[in-house]
Structure formats: structure tokens, C-alpha cells
């Protein structure tokens, strides 16, 4: 591949290396990403379940 220089004047390898702090920087970003994606996806699934559950309850006319 060779040294492809990005806008910051660094190579891709340098970018992922993060000056030797890769383990800390990328795990911080990784955990942040996982938590934020989970928080956004959960309500989508929950909304669908809630609508289905309520619709079933209305059919049976036993809304509690």
C-alpha cells in the first residue's frame, strides 16, 4: 500500500497507531459507539413491540 498521506499529513498506519495510544483511544471510541448505537436501536425495537402488544390488547378488548 505504501504511505498514503491524509489531510492531517499522516499515513493511515499512523492514524490507527495514535502515537502509541491506540489501545486507549480506540477502545474509548469503541465503547462510546456501542453504547450510543444501543441507545438508538433499543427504542426502535421497543416501539414496534409496544404497538403490537397494544394492538393485540385492543383486539381482545382487555386494555389494562
Amino acid at each position: 500500500m505504501g504511505a498514503r498521506r491524509g489531510h492531517g499529513g499522516m499515513t493511515m498506519a499512523e492514524f490507527f497507531h495514535m502515537g502509541g495510544y491506540a489501545a486507549y483511544v480506540w477502545s474509548a471510541y469503541g465503547i462510546c459507539l456501542v453504547v450510543m448505537v444501543a441507545n438508538a436501536v433499543y427504542p426502535i425495537i421497543k416501539a414496534r413491540d409496544t404497538r403490537r402488544r397494544l394492538a393485540r390488547a385492543y383486539e381482545g378488548e382487555r386494555v389494562t
Binding site: F15, M18, G20, Y21, A28, C32, M36, A40, P43, I44
Partner: protein
Amino acid sequence: MWTFFHKLASPPYFYAFAGRLVPWLGWACVGLLIAGLYGGLVLAPADYQQGESYRIIFIHVPSAWMSLFIYVVMAVCGGIGLIWHIKVAEVIAASSASVGASFTFIALVTGSLWGKPMWGTYWVWDARLTSELILLFLYLGVIGLQSAIDDRRTASRACAVLSLVGLVNIPIIHFSVNWWNTLHQGSTVIKAGGPSMHLSMLAPLLIMAFGFKLYYLMVLLMRSRIEVLERERKSEWVRGAVTAA
């Protein structure tokens, strides 16, 4: 303007309005986060003292700000619900707790991962870290209380009281770096005399912070819509909304 707020306080209008707003917020948030990450991870130079490790700041500081902001929103809306019995305020308070807890968790974990290479330890019981950990426990307390009480409106009142009491922790967190000798560094953005940060670092930080704010708004509205359906399930409009889809 006021009629708009009056309408927004009515659950069916809020449900429809929030549903229309969510996709726009989602795209705006994705755009801002991509811009902020590009600015923070690629364009911004390395720090002259901390090297590349400082780049954790672009998620650490916005999530720490959000952890405080969301708590205040939750407590204030809880208070409004407690005093004026406005349903939508109760819904917003109830839907904020888990996002707030998530941001507090992110702030603590990213701070810990930043502390290890810079301070030589993942954790230290200094004032800033300890008060932020207490904030996480307050959020978890509110979530626990919410799920322990079956009637949602009673749960809202109990949670409102707890979150209003916990509000005292917010200024403690903010000023902890001034009041006590902490290992945690002082403010670099919100302080007298303006931010002591170069624009190439400050700009992506503020873009990320704005992106996080829109993200909160988006998740808040998505959760609030579910909460509104649950609370209003005995009314006609909910029946219409769920059986039509």
C-alpha cells in the same frame, strides 16, 4: 408561539410531532458527528503535552456535559410534572434517565481510559471523578425507582422528588475542580477569559457536543413516544395510532 407549546403539551400532538422530527434529528446528528470526528481525529493536531491520547476529549467532554445537562432536564421536567401535572413533562423526565445514565457511563469509562496513560491509573477517588460516579448512581436510582412502581404517574412523582434532591450534585461536579485539589484538570472551555484551547481543537469539540445534544433529543423523542403510548393506552387516539399501522 405559546399556542405551539400548548399544543405540544397535548399527548397526541406531541406523539405525531415527535415522530416527524426524529428522522431529521437523526440525519443532522450523523452529519455533525462525522464532521466532528473528522475534525477531531484527522484535522486537529496532536497535543504538545499529551500527544495523540488527548483525542479522547472529543467524546469524553461532550458526554460529560450531556450527563449534567440531561440530569438538569430530567429534574426540571420532573418538577414541572410534580407541580403542574403536565403529562408530557413527566414523559420527558421518565425518558431521560437511561440516556443520561449512558452518557455518564461513557464519560467515566472514556475518562478512565484517558487517565491510565496520562495519570498512570484508571481510577482515583478525587472530587471530580467521585461526584460523577455519584451522578451515575443517582441515575440508576431513578431508573430503579421507576421500574419498581407499577403506576407510571406515581413512579414519575417519586422519581421527580429523587432527581430534585440529587440536583445538588450538579454544581458540585461542575465546581469540584476549583473547590478541591483534583487530579482532574480544570475547565478549558467554560471559564472566565474564554476557552484556552486552539480553534482547531475547540471547533471539533463543539461540533461533537452539538451532535451529542441532537442525539439526546432524538433518543429522548423516540423513548417519549413509547412512554406516551403506554401512559395513554386507554384513550381513543392511541387505539387509532396502533391499529392503523
